[in-house]
């Protein structure tokens, strides 16, 4: 048996992949993360509102998801119900963060690991998406406009019209990347020399968030963290590993289901689901933007000062969990569980995590691509 150890780069952060091979095929894989930033400790004893500034800084590409999860956890702890307008605005900015993430992932992270591509079209696209977020939230990355009780902005119809028209324009432009019929020239080109059915995994999916059009199929109460061989923690649901993310949460869609039936949970299906999800999010956002009542209050001031709460959302890479304990308006404890922990846990040979399972039986040359299909956020993992 041969073992190769390599550092996977050109992802958000870096991960170490140890491959155990026999006759050129991968027999077993270990995934290690050796960075630690200590966010949860950093939050302790601070005013709970500070988490709305610190937590977006967990990640440069999906920090807005951390903000929304933070506010939801605090609202849950302090029994705050937010208004419908604030809820819709948060859905829009979070949905847009997912979109800019997917497009950067496809053209910057994934594509160049196989072949050259003009990635500037992705940057141009994500820049325009970030602009719509900024119009509502002030800036992107790293805004703090979603606070416990609602949002800080007070839009006029001028901004709402601009948001709506920008969404339509970008949805239209996205058709060149992947159409609503599921056609994508760049995706087919990527697979011109790669088999579509490699990278099959556990076939076990979990959705915990209920934001956007996603419907949960589980309860975050059953999620447990356990120590692993490196600094990250394994994440299990009812003592089993599950795949989270765009493939998991879009299997109800007819088109994605069809691809899934043909290629199962392979890399092609995983990529297809992620790219197609963008269309579904655009459609959903264009629907809810019209449901906003501009005269509704943006913010309701919290009254309670103590409590324990949980915030669960579907973030770009899957289910994201924030847990908080507040005592006299201060953070007593904070716990963050990120999607990449679910997908990239370190299991044993008879109990594999989704990423480990996807690598087994495949050639080493394909390992980078298979691995990156989970859209790894090592930055988030090392929180």
């Amino acid at each position: 048996m041969k073992i190769t150890k390599k550092i996977v780069t050109k992802i958000e952060g870096e991960a170490t992949l140890k491959l155990y091979k026999k006759d050129f095929l991968i027999e077993f894989a270990e995934i290690e993360f050796w960075q630690y930033r200590g966010m949860e400790e950093y939050l302790k004893n601070r005013a709970y509102m500070d988490a709305c500034v610190i937590n977006p800084r967990i990640c440069g590409i999906c920090g807005h998801s951390h903000l929304i999860a933070t506010s939801k956890a605090i609202e849950n702890a302090l029994d705050i119900k937010i208004g419908n307008k604030a809820k819709i605005l948060r859905e829009i900015t979070l949905g847009l963060e997912i979109i800019q993430n997917h497009i950067k992932w496809f053209y910057l992270t994934l594509y160049p690991s196989v072949k050259e591509i003009n990635y500037f079209k992705a940057l141009e696209f994500s820049k325009e998406i970030s602009k719509i977020i900024a119009l509502i939230a002030g800036q992107f990355p790293h805004n703090s406009y979603a606070i416990p009780g609602g949002v800080t902005c007070d839009l006029t119809n001028l901004e709402i019209i601009k948001v709506k028209n920008s969404l339509s324009k970008m949805f239209d432009r996205y058709q060149e990347i992947m159409s609503v019929d599921g056609k994508s020239l760049d995706l087919e080109e990527l697979f011109s020399d790669i088999p579509k059915s490699i990278g099959k995994s556990l076939n076990r999916f979990l959705i915990l968030g209920n934001n956007l059009y996603f419907k949960s199929n589980g309860n975050a109460e059953f999620v447990k963290e356990e120590d692993s061989i490196s600094l990250n923690k394994n994440v299990l649901y009812k003592d089993k590993f599950y795949e989270v993310g765009p493939l998991a949460r879009n299997l109800e869609n007819d088109l994605i289901k069809k691809v899934y039936e043909k290629y199962q949970d392979s890399i092609y299906t995983r990529i297809f689901a992620r790219l197609y999800e963008v269309n579904l999010i655009f459609e959903y956002l264009l629907k809810i933007v019209d449901e906003m009542d501009i005269n509704e209050k943006n913010y309701i001031k919290p009254i309670k000062k103590n409590g324990k709460g949980i915030g669960v959302i579907e973030a770009p890479r899957g289910s994201l969990i924030h847990k908080i304990e507040i005592e006299d308006e201060k953070i007593k404890s904070y716990n963050i569980i990120v999607p990449t922990q679910f997908n990239l846990s370190n299991g044993t040979k008879d109990k594999l995590s989704p990423a480990q399972a996807s690598l087994i039986g495949e050639y080493e040359q394909q390992s980078d691509l298979i691995f990156k299909c989970f859209d790894i956020c090592a930055v988030c993992v090392s929180h």
Partner: protein
């Protein structure tokens, strides 16, 4: 013809937010066409190799304990790269002062940082994140070999001479000392109660705007002083007060002068600004 300047971008302990902020620069292709990108943590570049560079860009903070990066101990890697570079752009508050994650490369909060001895070749761009235009501006100035006017912390004056208060659409409320009564309103200034640090934060973001369109205070969120050495301070949504008056006052004004003008402004009520801007009854 001169060869293109070699640029090496390394990520230390951070969130990649500086990179993602830079990706929103509208003319990024035109800018990258002018340089040879030796390494970047996300953008396609050549294989990682410790090598000479004309411009080194460091994003992220340093940890005093062992922190691996690309099979090196981070601090050793940064040291090697700095030694091999002609100019260093210290990008983001983490890298300049330490920020949330550790010690800065140039400073450690208010003190000198681990690589302070290389200050002469460093340009500091604090901000969490720094504005994409700022990063592009420094790279362009270096490419063109132009002189960058800098303050004593090596921050470019064309960026950090401004405060983020300049350009704020809530300035009229600041003039007349009218507070925001609660979040989520167009009306009111966030300086008196909500913790806004705009009047004493060095930044041109409210002048050039984020994502070409907005800013935090315009969206009702206070400025958190993300370009400053002590970012993030504690109690970020609450104005620190001393005997009922803001503990930190606008840059360049004496406390007594500020209190006098504030007292006068408050006593002369501005009727228009004391009401909702858009009132259905009117």
């Amino acid at each position: 013809m001169h060869s293109k300047p070699k640029v090496f971008w390394i990520d230390a302990v951070g969130c990649n937010g500086c990179s993602h902020s830079f990706f929103n620069y509208g003319e990024i292709k035109e800018l990258l066409d002018k340089i040879e990108l030796l390494y970047h943590p996300l953008l396609p570049s050549k294989e990682f190799k410790v090598q000479r560079s004309d411009i080194l860009i460091i994003e992220g903070a340093l940890k005093t304990t062992y922190f691996p990066r690309l099979d090196f101990n981070l601090v050793d890697l940064i040291f090697e790269l700095i030694k091999l570079s002609k100019k260093v752009i210290v990008v983001g508050t983490c890298s300049v002062y330490g920020g949330i994650f550790g010690e800065g490369v140039l400073f450690n909060k208010k003190k000198e940082g681990k690589f302070f001895e290389f200050k002469e070749k460093m340009i500091a761009l604090p901000g969490c994140p720094p504005h994409p235009e700022w990063i592009a501006y420094v790279i362009e100035m270096l490419i063109e070999n132009k002189n960058i006017l800098m303050d004593k912390e090596n921050r470019p004056k064309e960026i950090y001479s401004y405060t983020s208060h300049m350009g704020c659409i809530r300035n009229e409320y600041f003039e007349w000392k009218i507070d925001v009564l609660e979040f989520g309103t167009k009306e009111g200034c966030l300086f008196y109660d909500q913790g806004c640090q705009g009047p004493f934060t060095h930044s041109s973001c409210n002048r050039i705007l984020w994502n070409e369109i907005n800013s935090k205070p315009r969206a009702g969120t206070p400025c958190f002083g993300c370009t400053e050495k002590e970012f993030p301070k504690k109690n970020l949504f609450k104005t620190e007060t001393f005997m009922g008056i803001p503990a930190n006052i606008p840059l360049g004004v004496g406390k007594r002068a500020y209190l006098t003008i504030a007292g006068i402004a408050k006593s002369l009520k501005n009727e228009r600004l004391s009401k909702r801007l858009i009132n259905e009854d009117n």
